[in-house]
Symmetry: C2
Subunit: 920 residues, 2 copies
């Protein structure tokens, strides 16, 4: 066996390319070298000044796991690679005047909690410590590095917990009367190192290994073993990561930012992660280590002069003070700054995206420790993608693909005014995006009462359960002490667009006292708080909200215009009234895919007539009532046609069961029972009793599967005729006014072809009559919703009688799964999602495996008999990116979603084409 | 063109065989010669003495319809055929001493109301009448025949309604003071014929055609034209019969049974149509025409001596009187009788089935006028089929195929005691089979009240509507004045196994007075009536019911044993308790395909524990309640295993929503609202309020699609574990007692594979534990119902985790159609069936097009991944013959139905194999 187990980072990519026969991409690199190893190799390839390093491959780990031994040759290769590191800077490992210190880090294909992180300063022993003191002319530093090595090695490699060592450190600081580690005296440190060695000896019965090779070997084995550590295994089980991937081991020369005033350490973004502003952006500390930046004890300095001045202005720091205490890197180390700026640009060009970089300056020499694609806000994400495309770094198509469509949704939601003052009091998980302000209420029922009174409510609970559902739905936001991203609160909130922060363990909710506390701070019912579902932050008082103006988001508009060029699937909106339609048009909708005509049935002016129409026992009475309803309905439609000039408007005939337009049965029953006792002879009782009998007669055990949709159209003669008459009238009248109308009539809940045949013939006749009366012809399409499984199954029978199909995936999901949407989420569905019985809530993400199979079958059969059939979707899935991708793949012509989701859908539709290839 | 348009009946089959190149079967014969023509030809071929005849083909009719003229050569061929008739008996058409008289009859492929029936005695005019008088030595007869010709010809051919002629006849009878036509004087008849001729002349302005050829030509054209008569066209539209079939015309020599004491006419069955007793059975009248037998003025005589004597004994007629007045044909015309007996046997042999024959004896010469397969009772049908097979006339397979499976059901229902006296008061349509006795009630709500009081109710209505549903379901029988076989009453009754008579127009229902009348007879609420849904008969008072004993029906048992030899699909029963299981076994069930375990939940002894289990907020409380429930459940299962020794028992885990085991929400609400006013401080209120809150919390908008089936099993920890524990315990204990147990656990309402995986693993563990505890291993299968469309769609994911699938087609139909069974029938479904929107009620006959497609898809996918999967059906469709045929075709292993349907299913299953060919 003569395999290569160890690769110098600077050679890794080249050698692997030969072995593969092609240039490895990042995925391939990660398979062999893990994420961290691949990153080191990649940075080197990009020409960054990275401390010399090498990687022991995942293959070696796999071999070790199987056999318990290093594979043959691995150790020898490690020593050879180590020698290369020695040679590069003339340092020697574990000896000599210029000792080489290294770090050992694990690095699997995916980063994974529970695995060994890192051991620094390997190579130190009494001899090399002295040499280091000499080399850096800093004895204190040499002992500090030594104590860190012993602590880390004991903890990470030997499982002798660091708390034992930290306890000693604490005692020492107490003794010396200092607070910070850096304030400890040299003598103190010396004694501490001796104590650490003694502790180690006592605990293990042998000396801390002075042999640097022993240190290295044990560290490598510890990394390998950590792959099968308990937490790592559980994590992999949970995430479905295979156990046989293994981890790589990265060995890297140590560099130090804490060697004096020409040393520093910092982090930087190549562009602003908040706004996308294409300027270098970052912070550093002179004479510090990475952990000092994170610890937040010292105030970090800005990298650029511009940023530094802006910071000073915002924090009332005078220019004199700034220059003295907080100068920018640009000022302090101008040449190093210039070098870094060039490298940052270089990294961005190489990775073709905004970079988040860690660097260390050791005695004026810049070392890049890490670079990766930067996390960013939605705003920054869009701006960066558009800018990069404009700069020619990426294509427009790549820009489109870089933006998660949901980010677009975030850009359209209200956020906290970035300029407003705010008092952050806690932070939890960002469970459902959006910003919300309201008074804290601690009980779901109370929330309802308070909300009815017009108060904005933030519902605060230890956690939520199905009984809280009603209260959640009326709240502006939800905050829970417990629970993760898939907890009941999180799932319900996301499903209902309610901003939500969960798992905010900093707060202690006391429902009995109706308050929560954070330390001494007590928030009682009625106190105003603000929650940020984007970030998980909680603020005291009301943080002002700002609504991002869509029209002003020029980068977003640019991105969406590119998306429109690419996408092959239309985007329409679900809109019931003119104002919704106007909003939809503003967001780029290409028509109305679903107008729910029940809006008018709730119009107070039509109310009486609606009730009379429903309760009519004689057709003449019903006809008269319908006659009264017609003008209201007609006006609704005219508004829509006006707004949609030139674009199609799909009118869905009345869909809900008629009893939804009458008082609820339970309420009526209660009233009647009361009146029977309190006012047995009253006229009111008589009236209510008549109504109760009617409502009781219409009562259905399962209204969702009852007399609704086209069934109601068939059983209530004149009803759908009136709607079609109103719709055609509106179309004719608008057409006469010069509006370009494209009316389409959609028949809901068809399950058998005969229902469609019957209704279509009837309505087509009405439309013809109206057009004749009005003396104008408008082209009109007739189609059906596909929402009953049987309609999908028998689409070959139905398709010849329809000009379009629109998938009503809400109902289709209900019936295919046998889930009543009104009940399931509260009763079991969320629990199902929480416990992983269902991968997702099928009412949010289209169930591609089940419902999707039915849709495919439906489409295949229908297209075979009616190739011209137009296909769309108008369920809520029409606004869900993954579902839109599916819709594209199965060949739909358009999706229709709520107006606010139109921009999301436009982007998702473009991505669908780019991901799956152009169709036709 | 030299086509043959006219065929002599005796040559028809042979010539047609040459033309086709093979012996034509009856279907082919009917296409060309119509039903009647085919029958004449067939009888001749079978050697029966049929009066000479010929048939003008349907092709000629089609030609005539297209052109308005006889096709070329047809008339010449008609004359030639007529000449053959003349030659055969030396008679001459329209002249001579032996004039030939003929009848002309229409005859399409299928008999069709609205088409011309027949014109008799064609060929008569003044001259031939005289010759006939001479020939038969009967002048009265000659005039009688003449007046009949004029009447019929005018009416049928010339559309001059017969009522005008009948009015004259009536006047004549009044004048002569006689009642019967036969009592009219010769002189009277002479005058009448003259008057008829004068009427004809006056009406049409020309003489009644004396030219027999003219009579014949006009009659033939009238037959052709009647094909497009209004009623015939409407009928064809309704029945979907093509308009281009055309009708044939049959011309047949007249024979007369009313020429004196050696002439007679009669009808006979080759076996008893009531019992199937294989003896000649029939009636005749000496010196009479066919219509006299039907008219019922004279008492018909029996054909066989045995039957004649039996009749006399039953009717208290002495042997002397019988011999004098009512002798049998066997006695009166022994030779003719012998000839007839031989011919009857011959016909039966030829047609291979019981024959219903019409015959005429003209001066001692026997003529067979018609023979066809006899209508018969269910009893006779089974006996005849079995006897014919035993006699070797048909095969066992043919015997199986001859019995409509529904007939078997009828044999198992209670019928009226055939020996009991009964007073028939009316007759309507036999809308839903079965016999029922009860008091008349005229209002659906009253029916409920009365039924609750324990009375048997017959609901009597002018017609029923959805509001009557509840009342119908509690009634023993339903009687309506209006409505046909597809009316609301009929459909609901059939669907619910309620005997029903509809369209009984003889009764006048007055709901205001709560009574119905038949002439002077008044039946008020509370009066007992009996209705026979098999026959449509209504009787006054209670006719005793008898329950046919299955074990004593030897012919049925024989037939079913033959069916068992043939069928390839198993038949199991749906049975919940031991007594049902025993009945199922008696009926031949091969196992239990569905045990609904909710039976025990309603057991009064377990009631308290069930409620506690449901309402438990803590698991310990629930566990304790489940512990209490276990013994009852266990006992239920032991009973089943005992009954099913050696056969499989499928236990379905609890399925309905839990709130079904609690008091209904509405009732509780009413009580609480009342108590709040009347007893606001009572303990009862407090208790009820707690219960109300619990029930309200469990309330579901659509319970059918809510928390039930495996969803409940998952959400109520311990519930299905208890059931499985009880079931396994019962299996182990029975096994220890030597019972051969085959337990199978069925998990209901699975929609996602994870539900099945989870439940199966949990329950399998419980079963193992119990077997270990009991120290005995029993083989146990785990499977799932397929009743959620998604389960069917994703069967490839589910099948690997199931050992069997059982299609729950009730729920599958509900969800596939989106029909709530609790609501749909009352709200719109019956209307849909009535108006033809749906071809059938999909809850009765499996919707093969929609639901069936889903089942096929499910099976194909599932078998591909798990070829050993056992497949069954346990929805109500499992007892429906057409659905069973479908189940066979798609490859199910068994059907499961209610115990009473098991015999039906066994027969239907055998037929499925015979119709579709053996599988595998």
């Amino acid at each position: 066996m003569n395999e290569q187990w160890v690769f110098l980072s600077r050679e890794a990519k080249g050698i692997y390319a030969k072995r593969l026969g092609h240039e490895p991409d990042l995925t391939e690199m990660k398979i062999l070298f893990g994420g961290k190893g691949a990153g080191l190799a990649e940075m080197m390839a990009a020409g960054a000044p990275v401390p010399p390093s090498f990687t022991i491959t995942t293959e070696a780990c796999v071999h070790y796991m199987k056999t318990g031994d290093f594979p043959e040759g691995m150790w020898e290769q490690t020593l050879a690679a180590l020698h290369e590191l020695e040679v590069q800077f003339g340092r020697t490992f574990g000896k000599g005047l210029n000792p080489l210190l290294v770090s050992v880090r694990s690095g699997a294909r995916k980063s994974m909690p529970g695995m060994m992180d890192s051991v620094l300063n390997l190579g130190l022993n009494d001899q090399t410590r002295a040499a280091i003191a000499e080399m850096y002319d800093n004895e204190w530093f040499s002992y500090d590095a030594y104590r860190r090595l012993i602590t880390m090695f004991s903890d990470v490699v030997m499982d002798f917990k660091r708390t034992h060592f930290e306890h000693k450190l604490k005692l020492l600081k107490q003794k010396e009367g200092v607070r910070g580690d850096t304030e400890i005296s040299l003598q103190g440190l010396k004694t501490l190192v001796d104590e650490y060695k003694a502790m180690y000896r006592e605990h293990f019965g042998e000396d801390f290994p002075a042999d640097p090779y022993k240190q290295l070997e044990m560290s490598i084995k510890a990394v390998f073993n950590s792959w099968n550590g308990e937490r790592a295994v559980i994590y992999r089980e949970h995430k479905g990561i295979p156990h046989d991937w293994g981890t790589a081991v990265n060995v890297c020369m140590m560099v130090f930012g804490n060697l004096g005033n020409t040393s520093a350490t910092g982090v930087a973004f190549s562009r602003s992660p908040a706004t996308g502003n294409p300027k270098l952006y970052g912070e550093f500390l002179i004479n510090a280590q990475g952990e000092d930046v994170v610890a937040g004890i010292r105030t970090p300095q800005k990298i650029t002069l511009v940023a530094s001045r802006q910071w000073a202005a915002e924090n009332d720091v005078s220019e004199e003070e700034r220059q003295a205490k907080f100068p920018s890197l640009e000022e302090v180390l101008p040449e190093t700054y210039q070098q870094f700026a060039v490298i940052a640009r270089q990294m961005e060009t190489h990775y073709r995206d905004m970079q988040d970089m860690e660097f260390t300056i050791e005695n004026g020499v810049l070392w890049m420790l890490q670079t990766r694609d930067g996390e960013r806000t939605a705003l920054a994400a869009v701006k960066t993608a558009v800018d990069l495309a404009k700069e020619g770094l990426i294509t427009k198509e790549e820009a489109i693909l870089r933006i998660e469509p949901e980010l677009v949704d975030m850009l359209l939601r209200p956020t906290f005014d970035p300029d407003a003052k705010r008092e952050k009091i806690a932070k939890g998980l960002n469970a459902s995006p959006g910003a919300a302000v309201g008074i804290a209420v601690f009980d779901a029922k109370r929330a309802k009462t308070v909300a009815v009174d017009g108060e904005d409510v933030i519902l605060v609970r230890p956690e939520t359960s199905p009984e809280d559902m009603g209260g959640m739905l009326v709240s502006k936001g939800v905050l829970t002490q417990k629970g993760g991203a898939t907890s009941h609160a999180a799932v319900v909130a996301r499903g209902n667009n309610i901003p939500c922060v969960t798992g905010c363990e900093e707060i202690a909710v006391d429902i009995n006292r109706m308050q929560f506390t954070i330390g001494d701070l007590v928030i009682k019912e009625g106190d105003t708080i603000s929650i940020n579902g984007f970030t998980g932050e909680i603020f005291l008082g009301a943080v002002p909200l700002v609504q991002a103006k869509y029209e002003e988001q020029t980068d977003l508009l640019t991105l969406l215009s590119w998306a429109d060029e690419v996408r092959q699937i239309g985007v329409r909106a679900n809109a019931d009234i003119g104002v919704d339609a106007e909003r939809a048009i503003a967001f780029g909708a290409e028509g109305i895919g679903l107008c729910r005509t029940e809006h008018m049935f709730f119009d107070p002016r039509a109310r009486d007539a609606v009730v009379r129409m429903i309760l009519a026992k004689e057709q003449s009475v019903r006809d008269a009532a319908l006659e009264e309803m017609l003008p209201f309905q007609e006006q609704d439609f005219e508004d829509l046609f006006d707004a949609m000039d030139g674009k199609p408007v799909i009118m869905r005939l009345i869909d809900p069961p008629m009893h939804e337009f009458l008082p609820p049965y339970h309420e009526l029953l209660e009233e009647v029972v009361k009146l029977r006792i309190t006012a047995p002879d009253s006229g009111e009782l008589k009236e209510k009793e008549i109504l109760l009998e009617a409502v009781s007669g219409m009562w259905e055990v399962n209204p969702m599967m009852g007399l609704r949709g086209c069934r109601a159209g068939i059983m209530y003669p004149g009803l759908t005729e009136m709607q079609t008459r109103a719709y055609t009238l509106a179309a004719c009248r608008c057409a006469k006014r010069g509006i370009d109308v494209h009316p389409e009539v959609m028949i809901p809940l068809v399950g058998h072809v005969n229902e469609l045949k019957l209704e279509r013939a009837k309505l087509e006749r009405v439309a013809k009559e109206v057009m004749a009366e009005e003396g104008i012809q408008v082209p009109m399409l007739f189609g059906t919703m596909i929402e009953v499984p049987r309609a999908a199954l028998t689409s070959d029978e139905i398709a010849p009688y329809a000009q379009f199909f629109s998938f009503g995936t809400n109902d289709l999901t209900q019936m295919t799964y046998g889930y009543s949407r009104d009940d399931a989420e509260g009763k079991f569905l969320l629990k199902y999602v929480e416990t992983g019985i269902l991968p997702e809530n099928p009412f949010q993400a289209l169930d591609q495996i089940g419902v999707g199979k039915l849709m495919r079958l439906c489409i295949d059969q229908a297209k075979a008999v009616n190739p011209d059939l137009e296909l769309g979707i108008c369920g809520e899935h029409g606004g869900d990116p993954a579902s839109i991708d599916f819709c594209y793949r199965v060949g739909l012509d358009y999706v229709s979603c709520s107006p606010f989701r139109v921009p999301v859908a436009r982007l998702a539709a473009a991505q669908a084409t780019l991901r799956n290839g152009r169709r036709r």
